[in-house]
Structures are given as C-alpha cells and as structure tokens.
C-alpha cells in the first residue's frame, strides 16, 4: 500500500497547497513508517518524533491556500548525523561525540528548516563519514531495504536507506569521495553531489575540507532540483562557499536532452564492473541515444591514479581536522586520573575513535610527516591537477559524462571489512568528481539479477547542475522504473 510518505515532495507540496492533506497527517505517516521499519533497518541514530509533530502542527496553521510555496514546507526530512542541529545530539557515528549537543545549526539545515521542512531525525553513518558500507558506525550497521543482509553503502547509509524505505521523503547526506552517490546507487534512490562550494559547509563537521560537499537523497530528480534550490547559495560563514547566482534548477528540468553531447567514461564496461551493472548501463546508454543525445566515448587518462591521490589527500586533511577531538572543549574524555594533559589526549583518542578513523588518521599523519610530505601529499596534489585537466579536456567535447556510480551493487554485510583496500575500490568512479569539484548525480537505472538496484552516474562541468539534472530527469522519465524495496511489501 502506498502511504503519504511514499509520495514525492513535489506531489506532497501540491496536496498541501491545495489543502488535500495536512502537515500533521504527513508527519504522522513518516513517523509511523519509521516505527514500523527502522527496527529492521537501523537508519536513525536519533529520531525526533516529538519535534516533528510540534513543527508540523505549527505549519498546519499557515500551510494551505495562499501560503508561500517553498517546495519544502511540511516535507519530512532526515539529516545525516554529521550536520549540526542546535539542541539535538550530533554524533558523527562516533563514540567520541556520543553525547555532543551542538549549540548551532548547520547552514544547510537552517535554510531547509527556514523553508518549512520537518525534521524526522538524524541518520546513521560511517564514523566521521569515513567508509563505503556504513559498517564503521560506532552505533551499529544500517541494513539495505532491498536485502537486509546487505549494506546500504556509505558513508551516508542511513539517509539513503531512510529515503528508499519511505521513512522520510528526502534526506541530506555528505559526499567527500562518493558518500552520497554510492549509497544512493546501492539503495535505488537519486543522490546528488553539487559543485564544491555550492552548498555551505558551515556546520558540516569536517572530514576532508577541500572535498566535503553537502548532498541530497530524493526519490526523483525533480525533488533533487527543488531541494538544491533551497540549499544552494553563498554563506559568509563558509569561506569556500561560492558567491555566484543560483540557477532555477526546477524550471527546464523536464526539457529533454536532444542534441546533448554525452561521453561514456572509459572503464564503464571494465573488468572490475559487475556484469549486472554493465547490462543496466548498456540499456541506459541506448535510451540516452534514443532520446536524442549524441553519444561518444571519453577517457580520463589519470583516473587510475585518482583513488591513490584521494586516499592520501582525504586522510591527510582528516588527520588535521580530527586533531580537535582532544577531550578538552567538547566530546568525550577518557576516564581515570591522567599524569598530564598529553596522556589524557592520547587515551581519549585511543578510546573514542574506531578502527577506520584510526587507520585514516595514521595514514594522513604519515603522509604529512617530515620526509614523506613531498612523496605522498605533495605528489597527490599534483595528480589532482592532472585530473582537473582531464575533466577540462573531456568537457570541451561533451556536456555530460556517464559511468556506473559503483562497480558493484550492494554487497553483503561483513564481506569487505577485513580488506580496507577492497572497500576503497567501491569509490573508484565517484572519487574523481570530488577531486575536481564537479557536480555529479546517481540515478537508478535498473535492478541486477539479484533484484538489487544499479545506479548510473552523470557528471557535469563546475556549476553545471541544471544540465546535469535535466539529463538525469530525461533518463529517469524514459526508464519509468517503479522502485519499491521488498521490505515494504505488506507495510
């Protein structure tokens, strides 16, 4: 049965505006779904049902005929637990911030809340957003609504699962190396990573500052366009926030792609890509051609080195950013009497961080240390320049690039936890866009032989979100997939 929480934000917005449904009814539908399915999924770390009901009741008095249309008013929303919320616990999936209650809102949430969105809760994620399976959360894994024995992807696994299962209508995540697009792909939803700097990072608890991007999970492309319109814009509180006009992403999103030049990225049908993923890619590429796009092939010659560059740059920035967790101003402090302040810090960090975070702090500290800086961090920064040049060359010939989002569909819980390098390979198609800052989106394009969703990634030049979403929307409309995870049968 379809409930209100299964509808898209644009449908719900129209119904709210017409007075056909009320904000409290909509919130109740979402909260009921969370109560029913979240014990199985584990998508939420901190559900906020009372707040959601209060907020919906407030909105009830002024939503309806004549109310300003923000597209977000009354929409049940979830936030990845790395975005700060004033007065609501924000853990980053880490023991070290288990009891942290921020005194301020992230700008992304402040904008969305200001537009009338209703917060249903904070979602589970890999600790400090480091991971590709959500298995690195200190508070337990999230399960994939398409198969409860499989991962939802990561690091924004809770947000992806929550949207796929209808617990909320949309959600925010963060994408540093694919952490929105890869879980969107594995859960069968739309995951957008905008241009670096398009959405403020203020209140996004830092992992790797030159790569971190706030991103969105929605069940269709139009909702992604609406949500981006609310979130995008300059913020004086983030010095890397871009001070350029925000496009109208919704207008024109359904205008089609006749004449659009689309480049298929070399490696799309490579040996590391599962046959089921390749099959869905072939079908989707054919459809793009039928829709009038000009299809060609393109190579990003330095993409092979992107993974290595990323796994030096991101841990280096992380080792610096995470130095702030020292048991002094916020976060946990190790129990016991400490001989001096250094011992206290060393023990606090040893107890507070999980294995993947320790691994990246160590990797980054090593890559930045005297004698190794040039060989590792310095060299990785040069490779980053080469990858940016690859994109510049590719975008001289093409408007949009296409590849799989992830080389595989959802893998089994525990399957890759013993081999960090195999886990890192999940990100091979998503990482280059973070290094170059370009916008990219994952759209569902089919199911593999096991009934698991496959995502296709589209990438556009810097600030090319309008074109990106138009291409994604055309493909989505043409494929017309009805994606409802088996978990929801009988719900």
């Amino acid at each position: 049965m379809t409930d209100l929480c299964d509808l898209s934000a644009s449908e719900l917005s129209s119904k709210l505006a017409a007075g056909e449904i009320s904000a409290p009814e909509l919130a109740a539908s979402s909260l009921q779904r969370i109560e029913t399915v979240d014990p199985k999924l584990g998508a939420f770390l901190t559900p906020t049902p009372e707040l959601a009901q209060e907020r919906a009741a407030e909105l009830d008095s002024y939503l309806g005929a004549g109310a300003p249309q923000t597209g977000a008013a009354g929409i049940p929303t979830a936030l990845k637990d790395v975005l700060t919320t004033n007065g609501i616990r924000t853990t980053c999936g880490s023991r070290i911030l288990e009891a942290y209650v921020p005194p301020y809102d992230a700008t992304a949430w402040a904008r969305l809340s200001g537009a009338g969105a209703v917060l249903a809760g904070k979602t589970n994620c890999d600790e400090f957003a480091m991971g590709s399976s959500n298995e690195n959360s200190a508070f337990g894994p999230v399960r994939n609504p398409w198969d409860l024995d499989r991962v939802p992807g990561g690091s924004s696994g809770g947000s992806a699962a929550a949207v796929a299962a209808g617990e909320v209508v949309w959600a925010l995540g963060t994408d540093t190396g694919g952490s929105v697009r890869q879980p969107a792909s594995l859960c069968g939803v739309v995951g957008l990573k905008p241009t670096y700097g398009r959405i403020s990072r203020y209140g996004l608890i830092a992992f790797a500052s030159s790569l971190d991007t706030v991103g969105t999970f929605t069940r269709n492309v139009r909702d992604a366009a609406t949500l981006l319109g609310v979130l995008a814009g300059h913020d004086p509180r983030d010095a890397t926030s871009l001070d350029v006009p925000v496009d109208d992403y919704v207008r024109g999103v359904e205008d089609g792609i006749a004449g659009l030049r689309i480049g298929i990225v070399e490696g799309t049908y490579g040996e590391g890509v599962q046959p089921g993923v390749q099959d869905s890619m072939r079908v989707a590429v054919e459809r793009l051609a039928t829709l009038g796009a000009e299809i060609g092939e393109v190579s990003l010659p330095h993409a092979d080195h992107a993974l290595s560059a990323y796994y030096l740059i991101a841990p280096s920035e992380a080792s610096s950013n995470l130095a702030r967790y020292d048991g002094v101003r916020y976060g946990m402090r190790a129990d016991g009497v400490h001989a001096d302040v250094i011992e206290m810090m060393v023990k606090t960090r040893g107890e507070g961080f999980g294995p993947e975070v320790k691994r990246r702090i160590m990797l980054g500290t090593y890559a930045l240390s005297a004698g190794y800086y040039e060989a590792y961090y310095g060299q990785a920064q040069k490779v980053r320049t080469l990858i940016i040049r690859d994109y510049e060359a590719a975008f001289e010939r093409f408007d949009v690039l296409v590849s799989p989002t992830s080389p595989t569909t959802a893998f089994r819980i525990g399957e890759r936890t013993d081999d960090p390098y195999a886990m890192y390979l999940s990100d091979v198609f998503t990482i280059p866009a973070n290094l170059a800052g370009t916008p990219a989106v994952s759209v569902p394009v089919g199911l593999d032989g096991d009934g698991l969703p496959v995502g296709l990634q589209l990438t556009a030049p810097l600030l090319g979100e309008a074109t990106l979403l138009r291409a994604a929307s055309a493909l989505e409309a043409d494929l017309g997939l009805e994606l409802r995870p088996p978990l929801l049968e009988g719900v």
């Binding site: 009891a99 209650v101 005194p103 670096y196 700097g197 030159s210 004086p236 010095a239 890397t240 871009l242 330095h302 080195h305 993974l307 796994y311 030096l312 020292d326 002094v328 101003r329 916020y330 976060g331 946990m332 402090r333 400490h338 001989a339 001096d340 302040v341 011992e343 206290m344 060393v346 023990k347 960090r349 040893g350 107890e351 961080f353 294995p355 320790k358 691994r359 702090i361 160590m362 990797l363 500290t365 090593y366 240390s369 060989a375 590792y376 310095g378 060299q379 990785a380 920064q381 040069k382 490779v383 980053r384 320049t385 080469l386 940016i388 960090p420 390098y421 290094l435 800052g437 810097l462």
Partner: protein, 97 residues
C-alpha cells in the same frame, strides 16, 4: 613491496593510543595502501602545479564589525570538565617550573 612504517612514531605524532594488535594491523594495512599509492610518484612531472582546493578563493574577508557571539555557558556546555568560565585539564607544566 609493502612500505615499512614506524608505527610508534606516527602514533606519537597523531596523539593516538594503540594496542599492540592495532599496531600490527595498521603496519600491514598502511604498508599495503601505500604500496598501491606508490605509482603516483611517477605520474606528475615537476612542472605540474599542486591543487589544494578545486575552486580557489583567496583573501575571503568580511567587514571587521563586532557581531553577537555564543554566550560562554553555551560555548562550554559540551566541555567534559569545567571550572566556571574555563575548561579544566590535567597538569600541563611540570610542578615548580
């Protein structure tokens, strides 16, 4: 060949307590990850400039005007140990120095 790492030294720099088991695992895993990364040493020529951030912006300033700021109580609400308007930590300097 896996890269040899002085784990104790790096852990000291990172201010991170590690068990012996963790040290063993990290020595092997980081060695393997860095082995994969070694190839990037040969990719970029000397004349390729480094990129620190994808869309560089320099000298982003605001007007130097006082604005309301977080009250002290709010700012210290999350401190694990405090004494009035200050955070309390174990001894930092040697006794008598």
């Amino acid at each position: 060949m896996p890269v040899e790492i002085d784990i104790e030294h790096v852990a000291r720099l990172a201010r991170l307590e590690l068990t012996d088991e963790e040290k063993g695992q990290l020595r092997a895993q980081l060695g393997q990850i860095l082995e994969h990364a070694a190839a990037i040493g040969e990719v970029a020529a000397d004349d390729v400039p480094p990129t620190a951030t994808p869309i560089p912006r320099a000298n982003v300033f605001r007007e130097d005007e006082p604005e309301p700021s977080l009250p002290v109580d709010e700012a210290l609400r999350n401190a694990p140990d405090r004494d009035g308007a200050r955070v309390r930590v174990p001894r930092i300097v040697e006794a008598g120095s």
